[in-house]
Amino acid sequence: MLLAILPEILLLVLIGFVIALDAIWKPERRRILGWVTAGGLLLIMVVALLVSRPVDGEARLIFGGMLRQDWFGFAFKLLFLFSAAVTALFAMDIKGAGQKGEFYTLMLVSTLGMNLMASSADLIMLYLSIETTSIPLYILAGFMTRDDKSVESGFKYLLFGAVTSTVMLYGFSLLYGFSGQTNLYHLSLAFYDAQFPDLAMLAGLLLVLVGFGFKVSIVPFHFWAPDVYEGAPTPVAGFLSTASKAAGFAVLLRVLMALFTPVAAGYWVTLLAIVSVLTMTLGNFLALAQKNIKRMLAYSSIAHAGYILIGVVSLSQLGGTSVVFYLLGYLLTNLAAFGVVVAFWQVVGSDEIASYAGMSRRSPWLALAMLVALLSLAGMPPLVGFVAKVFVFAAAVQADLIWLAIIGVLNSIVGLYYYLTVLKVVYLYRSPDDDKPISVSRPYAIALLVLTLGIILVGTIMGPWFAWATTAAQGIF
Amino acid sequence: MNFVVDNLLPLILFSPALVALVLLFLPRTEKNLLRWAAFIGSLIPLAFALALWFSFAPQQPGFQFEQKAAWYEALGSSFHLGVDGLSLTMVLLTTVLTPIAILASYSVQERVKAYMILFLLLETGMLGVFLALDLLLFFVFWEIGLVPMYFLINQWGSEKGERQLWGGLKVSARTYASFKFMIYTMAGSLGLLLAIQMIGVTSGTFDLPELFKIWPGLTSLQGVPLGIPIATVKAVAFWAFVVAFAIKVPVWPFHTWLPDAHTEAPTAGSMILAGVLLKLGAYGFLRLVLPLYPQEAHQYAGWLAFLATMAIIFGAFAAYGQDDFKRLVAYSSVNHMGFVVLGIAAAARAVGTADATIALNGAVLQMFNHGLSAAGMFFLVGVIYERAHTRNLNDFGGLFPLIPVYGGILLFTSMASLGLPGLNGFVSEFLVVRGSWPIFTLWTALSMIGLLLTGLYILKGIKKVLHGPLNEHWVGHITEIKFREIAVIAPLMVLMLWIGIWPAWILGVINDAMRMLFG
C-alpha cells in the first residue's frame, strides 16, 4: 500500500528538500532550485514507473477507501509530474519567481494535490485534494506582488475558485446526505435505492459539475481563465492550462463514469454535449479577437476543453481513451506554446501578438517550436494534435453523435484561423529589431526540445501511447 | 530497300517532321544553310511520293500500303495509314507544291529557321490528313495543320494594313486574317469533333474501312441516349461534317475567311493555302461525307449544288470587282473550288452512274489542277509585289515590254486558270460540267455564267498589269523575273501543259479510284 503512494511521499520529501535548500542557499544560487525540482520530479517519475505501477487489471481501494490504485490515476500522475518538471524549467529565469524557493514549493504542493485528485475515490478526499491543488495555484497566480495584473489575477482566481468549490461541496453534502456514503464506488450503488430522489441526484450532479467545470474552464465557468492566464506569470499559466486542467478532467471523468453512469447518463451526456458546443464555439470565436497571446492561448484552452468534452460525452471505451490521449497531447503542446511565450517575453518583454513580428528571423528555431506547437493545437499532422482530434471525433461518430463531430471539426477550422494568424506575424511580418537574435537559455532550450520532439513523435508513432491511454481509461472501472 | 517499301507511308508522312527536327539544331543565323537544307529536305518526301506513285497499282481495289499500329486502344483508335487513287493524287500534289513553295520562300529574311520549321510541320499535317485511315487520326492531323498556318500568316504575312476587331481594337491586317482563319476553322471543326465523338461511341471504333461498313447501315444509336430518331441524328451529324469541310473548301457562304487569309499570308503561305489546304476540305467530302452518309448526301445534294453554283458565280463576280491583285486570285479560288463541289454534289445525287463518275473525275482533277494554277498565280503575284511593293492593279499598266518573260509566264498561268483548252484547267472543268449536266442541269447551266466571268476577271487582271499604256513610274524600277523564280514556276507550267495535252497519266489513276469507290 505504501508503494502505491510512494510518488506522493517522495513529493513530500522533495518539498522538504527544496525548503531546506532554499533556507541554506544564498539568493543567487537559488535559481538552481529549478534544476533540483525538475530533476527530482523526473526521478520520482522513474521510481513510480518502476515500483508504484498498479498490477494490470487489478484496482484496489487503499487508505480506507480514500484512494484507488488503478491505471487511471497512475497515468495522470505521470502527466502531472512531467508537467511540473517542465514548468519548473520554464520558471527558472523569471525574475522574482524563479529564484524563490517558495515558488517551487507551492508548485510541488499543488502537484501533490493533483496526484491525490487523480486517485481520489472518496468525496472527502476529493475535496481535500482539490483544495490542496487550488490554494497554492491561487498564490502562484498572484506571485508577482509588484505587478498589479498578477495580483488581480491571483485574487480573481481565489474568489472564483472559492465560490465554485463551495458550491461543489454543497453538492457533495447532498450526495452524502441522501446515501450515507462517501466512497464514490459505493455511492453509485446507492442511487438505485428508492430513498434517493432523482431530484437530489440531479442537483448533486449539477452542483458538482460547477466545481469541476471551473477547474477545467468550460462554459459558463470559464470567465476567470483569460484574466488569470494573462496576469499570472507565464509558466504558471502554462501549468494551469495543462496540469490543473488535466487534473480537473481526471476527476470529472472518474466521477461521471464511476458515479453518475449509467443512472444519470441520459442527463449528463446531453448537458455536457451542449456545454461542449458552447465551450468550443465561445472559446474559438473569442480567441479570434485577442491581441494578447496569453489571452488567446487562454481562450484556446477553453476551446480545447470543449473538444475533450466530446470524448467524455461519447461514453465509450474509445471516448475515454481519446480523452486521456488528448490530454497527453494537449499537455505537450500547450506547455510548448507557453514555453515559447516565456522565452520570447524574457527578451522582448511583451506579450502582444504584434510584437512577435520578425521572430522567425531573430530565432528560426524558436519560431519553429512555435510553429509546431500552434499547428498541433490546430490539429495538423504529423503532430499529436491531429491524431488526438481524430480520436475524439471518431469516438463521437461511433456514438452516433455525428452532429457533435461536425460542429467540432468546424470549430477546429476557426481555431486554425487564429493560430495561422499568429504564425503569419511570426514568419511574415518584420520588425526593426530583425537582426537582433533572441537568446534562449539552457533550461528553456532543453524543455522546448523535449516537448517539440514529443509532439512530433507522439503524433506519428501513436501505437504505444494509444495503448497506454486505453489502459488508463479502462482503469476507471 | 525492303524497309523503304514496307514503310513507305510513314516515311512520306514523317520525313518533313524529321527534316524540321534537323533544322531545329542548325544555327539561326545561317539563312542560306537553312533555306537549302529545307528545300533539299523537302525533296525527300517528293522522292518517296514518286516511288509510291510508281509502285501503286491503280486497278487494285481498296487501300494499298496499309500500316496499322497501336495508338489509342482505349478508344478503339489506331494509327492506320493507307492510300488509294484519291489520296495518292493529293499526296503527290502536296509533295510537289511544298518544295516549290519553299523555293519561293527564299526571299523571306526574318526568322528563317522558324518559318521553315513551321512549313515542314505543316506538310506533315496535310499529308497526315490524306493518308489517315482512322477517323480520330484524320481529325488530329486536320487540326494540326491549322497551327503552323496561323503562325505563318500572323508572323510573316503582309506588313501593311490595319483592321478593326471587336471593341474598336485595331490590329494589323495579318493578325486579323490569321485570327479569323483560326477561329472560323476551329468553330467549324467543333461540330465535326462532336459528330466524330458520337460516331466513335456508337460504333466502338474509329477505323475508317470498318466505319464505311458499319455506319451507313446503323439503325439504332446504341450507347448514346439521345432519344431522337436515328435519321435525325445522322442528318445533324451529316451537316456537322459538311459545315466543317465546307468552311475549308470553302463553299459559299462559308468562304469569308479566305480572301483575308489568302491576301495577308506570305506568298508561299498563300501557295500552300490555296494549293493544298483547300483541298483538305474537298478531300473530306470525298473520303468521309459521301461514303459515310450516302442517303443524306443524296437527299441534300441539291443544296450542295446550289451553294457550289453560288460560289462559282459570286466568286467570279467578286474577283472581277477587285483592285488588289492578290485578292482577285483569292476569290478565283472560291470560283474554281466551286466546280469541285459541283462535281461532288452531282456524284452525291447520282452515285453509281457513269455521269457521276465523270463528274468525280473532273472534281478530283480540278483539285489537282487548281492546286497547280492557284499556287502559280499566287507566286506570280508575289513576284511582282516584291518588285513593285504594291498589289493594286491600278498602279500597274503596260508592263509587258519591261518584263516580257514574266509577262509570258503570267499569261500562260492565267490561261490555265481560265480553262483554256490545251491546258489543265479545261480538262477538269469540262469533265465536271459534262458529268453534272445530266444530273443538275439548271445549276450547271448557271455555272456557265461563272465560267464566262472567270474569263472576264482573268483577262482584266492581265490587261491591267501587262497591257495598255505604259505606266512611266515603272521604267527602270522593275526588274525581270529571276532564275530562281523561274525554277519555281517552271515545274508547275510543265505539269499544267502536260495534263492539258495528255491527262491520261493522272486521269487514269483517278478514274480507277473513283470507279472503285463510288462506282
Binding site: P364, L375, A378, M380, P381, P382, F386, V390, F393, A394, V397, Q398, I402, A405, I406, V409, L410, S412, I413, L416, Y417, L420, L423, K424, Y427, L428, M462, G463, F466, A467, T470 | A70, W71, Y72, E73, A74, L75, L136, F139, V140, F141, W142, E143, I144, V147, Q155, T175, F179, M182, I183, M186, L190, L193, L194, Q197, M198, G200, V201, G223, P225
Partner: protein
C-alpha cells in the same frame, strides 16, 4: 521487389526538407543543390515506378504494409495502380521543374524549400496511400504548408488574404470528408482503415444504400473542394495568383489533382452506389465549372488570374469525366489530371518568368515578349494549344475520351461543354497575341532579359511530355485504362 520504392519516394522530400533546415540560412547554393538532388531522386524513382508498372497484370503493385495503430486498425499501406502511377510521376515532374524555377528565390530559401518539400511528401503520401487514416494524415500535411508558402513568399497585394482563404476552405473540405471517413470506418465494423478491405466489404454489402447516399456528398464534395468544384472553387483563383511561382505550379498542377483523386479514391471507389445516385449533381456542377470557368477566364485582365480560372475550368473536365462512370470518361479524366498538371505547371512557370521581369501582370500593359524570351513564347504556345485541346498534344488525348464518355450518358452536356473549347481558344489566342507578340511597351525595352538555362530545361521537360503523350497516347492510356477497369468492376462492370 524488396526495395521500398514507394516509401522512399514519399519520404525523400521531407527528409531532404529537414536536412535543408539544418543548413545555415546564408548558404543558399548548398540549400538549392540539396533541394535539386532530392527532386531529381524523386523524379527518377517515380519515373521508374511509372514505367515498371505491369499493365497486363493490373491491380495494386509495389505494395508495402506496416501496422501503425493496430488497436484501431490503422496501418501504413502504399501501392500503385493505373490511376495513381501517372500522378506520382506528375508530382515528381512538377517537383523537379518547380525547384528549377525557384532557383532564384532569395528570401530565406531554406525555409522555402523545407516547407515546399513537406508539401511534396504529403502529396506523394496521399497518392499512394491505401489506408484511410493514412490518406487523411498525408492530405493535411499537403495542405498546411500552403499557408506559409503563400503568406510569406507570395504576391504582396493579396497574399495574406488569399493564403488564409485557401487554407480555411481546404480544411473545411478535408475535415468534413474526415467525418465521412470515420463514419465509413465504423459502419464497416471491421476495425480497419485499410481501403482495399473496406472496398471489398462495401462490395459485399457492408454499406447500405441509404448510408451511401447520405455520406457520399460529404466525402466527395469535401475532397472535391480541393479539386475546385463549383461552388467551392472560390479559393483557387486568389490562391493561384497570390502564390509564388513554384507554389502555384504545385497548387494547380498537383494539389488540385489531389482533391480530385481523393474524391475518386474515397468517394467513388468506396461508395459506388452513392456515386451513382449523385452523379447527375456532380455532372451538373462540373459542367458549370467547365463553362463558367472559361467565361470568367476570358474577362480577366490579370494574366495570372486567366490561368487560375482556366484551371478551374479544366478541373471541371476531370470531374465531368468522373461523373460519367464510363470507361472512356474515367480514362480521359485520369489522363487529364496528368496533362493538365503538366500544362498548368508550365503556364504558371511562364507567368512567373514574365512577371519577374515586367513587374506587372496586366495583359494590356504587356507585349512583344517573344522577342526577348523566344523559348518561353514557344513553350507557352504549346501549353496554350494543350489547353485548347489541340489534337497532337496531350490535352486532346485527355479531353476527347471525356467527351466520348459524356456522349454515352448525357449528350446534351457534351454539346454544352464543347462551348468551353471555343471560349478557351479565344482567350488563349488573345493572351498569346497580346503578351508575346505585338509591340513591346517602351518601358520594357531595355531591361527585359532572357530566362536562365535552368528555366529552359524546366520548360523543355514540360513541353516534351505534353507532345509525347499527344503524339503517342499509348504511352499513358493503357496504364490509366487498366486502373479504370478495376474501378468500374466496383459498379458491376459498366
Amino acid at each position: 521487389m524488396d526495395f521500398p520504392v514507394l516509401s522512399v519516394i514519399v519520404f525523400t522530400p521531407i527528409v531532404a526538407g529537414l536536412l535543408i533546415l539544418l543548413i545555415p540560412g546564408d548558404r543558399k547554393t548548398e540549400i538549392r543543390v540539396t533541394a535539386l538532388a532530392a527532386a531529381v531522386l524523386a523524379l527518377i524513382l517515380s519515373a521508374w515506378v511509372y514505367f515498371n508498372y505491369d499493365t497486363a497484370l493490373g491491380g495494386y503493385q509495389l505494395m508495402e504494409h506496416h501496422d501503425w495503430l493496430p488497436a484501431l486498425g490503422i496501418s501504413y499501406i502504399v501501392a500503385v495502380d493505373g490511376i495513381n502511377a501517372p500522378l506520382v510521376l506528375l508530382t515528381g515532374v512538377v517537383m523537379f521543374t518547380g525547384v528549377l524555377i525557384s532557383w532564384g528565390v532569395d528570401d530565406r530559401p531554406r525555409e522555402f524549400f523545407a516547407f515546399l518539400f513537406i508539401l511534396a511528401s504529403g502529396v506523394f503520401g496521399v497518392f499512394v496511400a491505401q489506408d484511410l487514416f493514412q490518406l487523411f494524415f498525408f492530405y493535411e500535411i499537403a495542405v498546411f504548408p500552403m499557408y506559409l508558402l503563400i503568406a510569406i513568399w507570395g504576391w504582396v497585394q493579396t497574399r495574406e488574404y488569399a493564403a488564409m482563404k485557401l487554407t480555411l476552405y481546404l480544411f473545411i473540405g478535408s475535415v468534413i470528408a474526415l467525418v465521412g471517413g470515420l463514419a465509413m470506418y465504423f459502419e464497416v465494423g471491421l476495425n480497419t482503415f485499410n481501403m482495399i478491405r473496406i472496398a471489398e466489404a462495401g462490395q459485399a454489402g457492408a454499406f447500405s444504400q441509404s448510408f451511401q447516399i447520405f455520406w457520399f456528398p460529404f466525402v466527395f464534395l469535401g475532397f472535391a473542394v480541393l479539386g475546385g468544384i463549383f461552388p467551392f472553387h472560390n479559393w483557387s483563383p486568389d490562391g493561384h495568383v497570390a502564390a509564388p511561382t513554384a507554389v502555384s505550379m504545385f497548387h494547380a498542377g498537383v494539389l488540385m489533382k489531389l482533391g480530385a483523386f481523393a474524391a475518386l479514391r474515397v468517394g467513388i471507389m468506396l461508395l459506388p452506389q452513392g456515386a451513382e445516385y449523385w452523379r447527375w449533381v456532380i455532372m451538373g456542377l462540373a459542367t458549370v465549372n467547365v463553362v463558367y470557368g472559361a467565361f470568367i477566364a476570358m474577362v480577366q485582365t490579370d494574366f495570372k488570374y486567366v490561368i487560375g480560372f482556366s484551371s478551374v475550368s479544366h478541373m471541371g473536365l476531370v470531374m465531368l469525366g468522373f461523373s460519367t462512370l464510363t470507361p472512356e470518361g474515367l480514362t480521359g479524366a485520369g489522363i487529364q489530371m496528368f496533362s493538365h498538371g503538366v500544362m498548368t505547371a508550365l503556364f504558371f512557370a511562364v507567368v512567373g518568368m514574365v512577371y519577374d521581369r515586367a513587374h506587372t501582370r496586366q495583359i494590356n500593359e504587356l507585349g512583344g515578349f517573344s522577342k526577348k524570351m523566344p523559348w518561353v513564347a514557344v513553350a507557352f504556345i504549346i501549353g496554350g494549344l494543350v489547353s485548347m485541346g489541340m489534337p497532337g498534344l496531350s490535352g486532346f488525348v485527355a479531353e476527347f475520351p471525356i467527351f466520348m464518355g459524356v456522349w454515352r450518358v448525357a449528350p446534351i452536356v457534351a454539346i454544352i461543354a464543347a462551348i468551353s473549347i471555343v471560349i478557351t481558344a479565344s482567350y488563349i489566342i488573345r493572351i498569346i497575341g497580346k503578351v508575346f507578340f505585338g509591340p513591346m511597351p517602351e518601358a520594357f525595352e531595355h531591361h527585359i532579359g532572357d530566362v536562365t538555362v535552368l528555366d529552359k530545361v524546366a520548360l523543355v521537360v514540360l513541353c516534351v511530355i505534353m507532345i509525347a503523350i499527344g503524339v503517342y497516347p499509348a504511352v499513358m492510356s493503357p496504364l490509366v485504362a487498366s486502373g479504370v477497369e478495376s474501378i468500374l468492376r466496383l459498379f458491376g462492370g459498366a
